[in-house]
Amino acid sequence: MISGLARWLDERLGGSGVVLHLVNKIFPDHWAFYLGEFALYSFIMLVATGIWLALAFVPSQATVIYHGPYLPLAGTPVAEAFASVLAISLTSPLGLFFRQLHHWSAVVFLAAIILHMARIFFTGAFRKPREINWIVGFTLLVLAAATGFTGYSLPYDALSGTGVRIAIAVVNAVPLIGPWLASAVSGGPFGSPQLIPHFFVLHVYYLPVAIGLVIGIHLAILIRQKHTQFRSAAARDDNVIGRRLWPDYALRSLAVGATLAAVLAVLATFITINPVWHYGSYRPWEAPAPAEPDWYAGFLDGALRLGPAATLPLGPYAFASIFWPGILMPTVVLGVLYAWPWIDAAFTRDRAAHSVLQTPLDVPWRTGFGVAMLMAALILTLAASDDVQAAVFRVSLTGLTIFYRWFLLVGSLGAGFGAVAIAYVLRARAITPAAERIVDLRRTETGGFRESESST
């Protein structure tokens, strides 16, 4: 029957050649190559759960009186969006499971993309000819973060509403177009009833469709260029060594993806995530304390806390204090990372095409830069809960802020230079790949070995 169907299709589409070519494609194997697939499988989980959630959710900021099973809020005015999230979460086990699976998948989706990009960075996989896919992948990270933020904001709970308020304030500080853009995003002045409907359509339509398209481009380029491979005796820039897509790689990938999905399902079943009913509906004059965002936005929140209290007026306009950590810092970081393939090529003076990967030891300064960036992100994320730390450790909040400013500088530079030093030490110890050669070993009469150049 299968062969009959295949023939039926082939007589009409003539695609068997392409399919055979695809299933016979060779993929190199390494555990680190599965990080990107983690992202792909998380995205599939997000879409699978999101379709249902999008239909069950009510994107409205209108105030309604809550009459649900959650008694602490009974009879109080809440946003309709918030009430619908409570209905999804607390009246139907299926809804709670879907919502938690969706949020856990989003958390893992972003983590997987970042880990995948770190792998690409530290192994030099972005070098020619893969600069395009580096940019495409980075765009994917930006889109994923935007989707995460708009989704996190939809329940219009006290925590996410505060986050939206901050985000709008940041957009409002963009030079020239900021105020204009902020009111277009929120559909009027802050508090406009159009904000949640705007975020909803961005979150369930524009952004996921864009992510789907960009993933398509990403994979098409990957198939065209073929996957990179780690160094081995036989690996060259103009060959690819590994296993066929079918059955080897497809089955392994399926096993890895299904394992990830199973772990997500277990998390969604047993570990509560974002219980918005504890926070209550958003009311602009009330703030939850402590207030912290989802993990991937933590570095921005930390930066806002550490930023200088400095305004630069420009006639009637101004670079507000929120501009430096909220706009300038992310723009510079994004710009440097987007341009990284060219920056790297300029420093290494290596503009040749490569398909054999490097190790983090091969280019110590690049490794150092990457480690410093990751450390800076980590320190900024830690700084996003400085108020909690000040309360727990009974230290002055102002003092802790000053500490974090220095820690950001010293900690990230220290980690970067430390990584460079470690890379040089390890490189000196290891048999460097450049010294690797094929030799003939012969036992000598005294029991030792003698090597001679291989004849092959």
Binding site: I26, L94, I166, D237, A262, A310, S321
Partner: protein, 256 residues
């Protein structure tokens, strides 16, 4: 192994269908879902092991050589024209985006001259309501959902307030009012350190000295919280003399 795992996955899928249909407990739904996925994972993994090729295979990796086009030099007028078309396309998009901005912000925050102070539940604030050192969130009467109007009302011992000369009449009986919206990122300045006379924003810890016109003393804010000119009428009710004079809310690119 493959077969057992596949059968487990299939049974778990049927279980999931039933659990989802009756909307059973989260553990039943999630458990079946996780078990089905784990079964698929084990089945695929074990099949991959059985079917795996013995050795690595090698494939050539070659892109077709780039086509030599020779020098292509479009005319300057053509480049100018295409740039102009691109600019026009961008400009066309601006109008529709502008139309999304909805109604313009209403003038003022909602505080009108003579507007009486009410709590969120609508009750009026009178002279003896607040002890010295206590704090309340207030709104203009009839506008308890006007976010921009949210005001922190504090009562301080009368000698402790250090006011600018032109604002001496703004603080009757030790009452001072400040906009509750942080001038840094717009969070509500919801925390009060009574001993230090400081309002603290829970989001980024901007700190404002309420005895000194709510000037920022720590954290990233650069602008004081706007002060509301208060007065007390003959019935002892607190009211606003007029709207905030200083800008309310986070500082952005544009003034205001």
């Amino acid at each position: 192994m493959t077969r057992i795992a596949a059968i487990v996955a299939l049974l778990a899928l049927f279980g999931l269908a039933i659990a989802a249909w009756i909307n059973g407990s989260v553990v039943a739904i999630g458990g079946c879902c996780a078990l089905a996925l784990a079964g698929i994972a084990v089945a695929a993994g074990s099949a991959a092991r059985t079917l795996a090729a013995k050795d690595d295979l090698v494939e050539e990796r070659r892109l077709p050589p780039p086509i030599e086009l020779g020098p292509v030099r479009p005319r300057r007028s053509f480049l100018a024209f295409t740039s102009a078309v691109a600019a026009a396309v961008v400009l066309v998009a601006l109008g529709p985006i502008r139309a999304l901005r909805g109604a313009a912000a209403p003038r003022g925050t909602g505080w009108t001259p003579g507007a009486r102070l009410v709590r969120e539940d609508g009750t009026l604030v009178t002279r003896d309501d607040l002890e010295i050192g206590s704090i309340e969130t207030v709104f203009p009467e009839g506008k308890t959902t006007a976010a921009e109007a949210a005001t922190v009302l504090l009562r301080l011992a009368e000698g402790t307030i250090d006011t600018a000369p032109d604002r001496r009449t703004w603080t009757p009986a030790g009452y001072v009012g400040f906009s509750k919206i942080c001038t840094h990122a717009g969070c509500p300045v919801a925390l009060y350190r009574r001993a230090a006379f400081e309002l603290l924003c829970p989001c980024h810890q901007s700190t404002f000295d309420v005895t000194d016109g709510a000037k920022p003393v720590a954290g990233p804010a650069t602008r004081p919280l706007a002060q509301l000119a208060l007065a007390i009428d003959e019935h002892g009710h607190l009211y606003a003399q007029h709207d905030f004079v200083d800008p309310v809310g986070p500082e952005g690119w544009a003034p205001g």
